[in-house]
Symmetry: C2
């Protein structure tokens, strides 16, 4: 048998550059996680792998601060985690209150509509947290709303919303609460049980500092009941929680074949969750806060203005306005080419107007903060806006020199 | 802020065992692919990564033997590749002829039904290829069928169906042809354009010998037109080809942010596709055939019977009946524990009755064939069925000693 088409010319193994990742994700992976990832695969039904899956469930419960039985990692990016929540919990005709204050609230609306629901949209400006007053009003105006959905940590702006309050409002009206914690899990407190959340999804490649491509999720008993009470089948085979449940089943139970798990990515997730557990959640949150404060001190010296007001600012996602007269994309290009440093651009209405600096997981460390300040001062100075690199570094230094509280 | 729940006790970094993977997938990864996987991540919008994505598209076109513009890797397991085909191409009310001769045809039926279509089921026994005569009859009885879907290489049985003939029947009636090549791509000829297929999906972890978690797909211009002509939105945000198109867009085009690509898995896929290109498709097919013949010669010496008749047998997936009186699961357990050798069990009606031996990608090599024969003879002999290990190895040896044709 012949293959009639010839191979494409001039393609060989790619030399992958080394980067320092300070964009909105993926973040740098610690060497231990990289090593775990690079172990030759074993079978997804191997007893050693099944044991690892059980441990991942326990470790994710700790990370999400929940006792929810249905806590696992969806075999796909965060967007598949989002879709897993909505495709299971939204039935045709359902009304869902969706809060939009950035890109990802908009994606939630798409999800609700594509699964036959009606989205009642609560709008806040990009860069603002979700306004609980508006949510309360929407719930009062729509007492038949079956769920409230919002983004805890808007990756597109760096704004953090008050999850406990928003979930409390939903629960008081008998609505489920669906929460996006893609950028918060492991970086700022995510307290699934204390909040009373019903469905939470996240991503592996942000503050967990794992490889991109996995979406940790957790569902409350109420959410599971809602899925079981559906009138029709879930309009997805892959994401149907009824089938996934049999796959990520209880220890000792017979595990049903569902799909071939991304075993290497799960090796890496296991390792990153062990590292998070060993550090301790409180310490991880404090570390993100510390490096954010150092970066902020340096940024202020450089005259950069944050997009988000201080009390709603995510330490792990720092969005700042591009100074007037500066070529936004040109700065990112120079940072990448001269310093191997990746930072993020703005999205939607913020495109071309802001930069986004991530301090997520393993990227949240002193050498990254210092490199970032040094490189940014250098590039801005080269563009004719003289910046005092030493002053920026000294400002960061003064934060690190503070006594530990 | 406190984390009220304590971490789970007794969990540490997992020592992952080394295995030789001769089950139905994942297959062994070559060291070059493992090395590519384990490179620290770079950003999914990094210019070097975007270049790699362009190369992956070209390399996949060669692997699929197609000039289809819309050829890329879905960021999820093969099941998500399947769902991407059906969720885009099936509209509510559509009639789809689905051929079922194993597990994966059954999954296709689920897909059609969950997206509001009606499945006209063409049944063949597990272990048989799809009967073209039955498909022709179904097409005659259902002239309004919008598509015909079948599995080229049934992983649950090891049967290969005649894709060219089945697709020809569909095309003659104006129906689209949707084909599962999860287990065939890279192992036996997949000739998308010569066949005239409209939608093909595959998996990364079989004959491509890449990490599990990616699903190569290709769509014909007719399929793209069908998607564009849909009355309603695709009932999935993540899998909507209209959005994915903008993401995996043409070189030079502006790439729209869609989701964070699983960059490390794509490093690995790039490397495995470069290796396939360098070997050449014809050589890869011949290699799978050679090692299958050696394994078969050994199996016959051991008195094992194949499930599938010779002319429909997949070289890369060898299903054999468990000899009478033998503890099926016990043999697999011993192979794993004594020899670190993973083989596959039967599924559905074949559960407990067959073993499945994969010779996929990097697993298709002489040392694996010899280990498998040695280990199986050893374990069966230990269970009281005396087997001549030397004769089995000599039979394989005689195949390797044949002059190259």
């Amino acid at each position: 048998m012949n293959a009639p088409l010839v191979p494409p010319p001039g393609i060989a193994s790619c030399p992958v550059p080394r980067r320092i990742l300070m964009g909105p994700g993926p973040s740098d992976m610690p060497p231990r996680v990289v090593a775990a990832l690079g172990h030759p695969a074993i079978g997804h039904l191997d007893p050693d792998f099944v044991r690892m899956m059980e441990e991942i469930k326990l470790l994710l419960r700790y990370a999400f601060q929940t006792n929810n039985a249905l806590t696992f990692a969806v075999s796909g990016p965060g967007s598949v985690g989002m879709e897993t929540c909505f495709v299971n919990l939204v039935e045709p005709g359902d009304k869902v209150i969706v809060c939009r204050n950035g890109v990802f609230g908009g994606r939630m609306i798409e999800n609700v509509q594509r699964f036959g629901g009606t989205a009642v949209i609560v709008e806040d400006a990009w860069g603002e947290p979700v306004d609980p007053q508006k949510v309360a009003e929407a719930l009062a105006a729509h007492p038949d709303a079956r769920a409230v959905a919002f983004v805890h940590a808007e990756t597109s702006t760096g704004a953090q919303s008050d999850a406990a309050t928003l979930i409390g409002l939903a629960r008081a009206k008998g609505a489920l609460a669906i929460v996006d914690t893609v950028t918060s899990l492991g970086g700022t407190p995510v307290l699934a049980d204390a909040w009373g959340a019903d469905a939470i999804y996240s991503g592996s490649q942000k503050c967990l500092s794992c490889v991109p491509g996995l979406a940790p999720v957790t569902f409350s008993a109420r959410a599971v009941e809602r899925v079981k009470a559906r009138k029709g089948k879930v309009p997805s085979w892959f994401m149907d929680l009824g089938l996934v449940l049999e796959y990520w089943s209880a220890p000792g139970g017979k595990r049903t074949y569902h799909h071939t798990a991304p075993v290497n990515s799960l090796f890496a997730l296991h390792e990153s969750l062990v590292m998070l557990k060993d550090e301790g959640l409180e310490n991880a949150w404090a570390r993100h806060r510390l490096h954010h404060e150092a970066l902020k001190a340096g940024f202020e010296t450089l005259g950069l203005q944050f997009v988000v007001r201080e009390d709603a600012r995510l330490p792990q996602l720092n969005a700042v306005h591009v100074p007037a007269g500066i070529d936004e994309a040109g700065v990112r290009k120079q940072l990448l080419e001269k310093f191997n440093l990746e930072i993020g651009a703005g999205l939607g209405p913020l495109a071309g107007k802001v930069w986004r600096f991530g301090l997520m997981g393993y990227s949240a460390r002193r050498e990254n903060v210092e490199l970032c300040l040094r490189a940014l001062a250098d590039v801005l100075s080269g563009m004719g806006q003289a910046k005092d690199q030493r002053a920026a570094l000294a400002a960061a230094e003064s934060v690190y020199a503070r006594p530990v509280r």
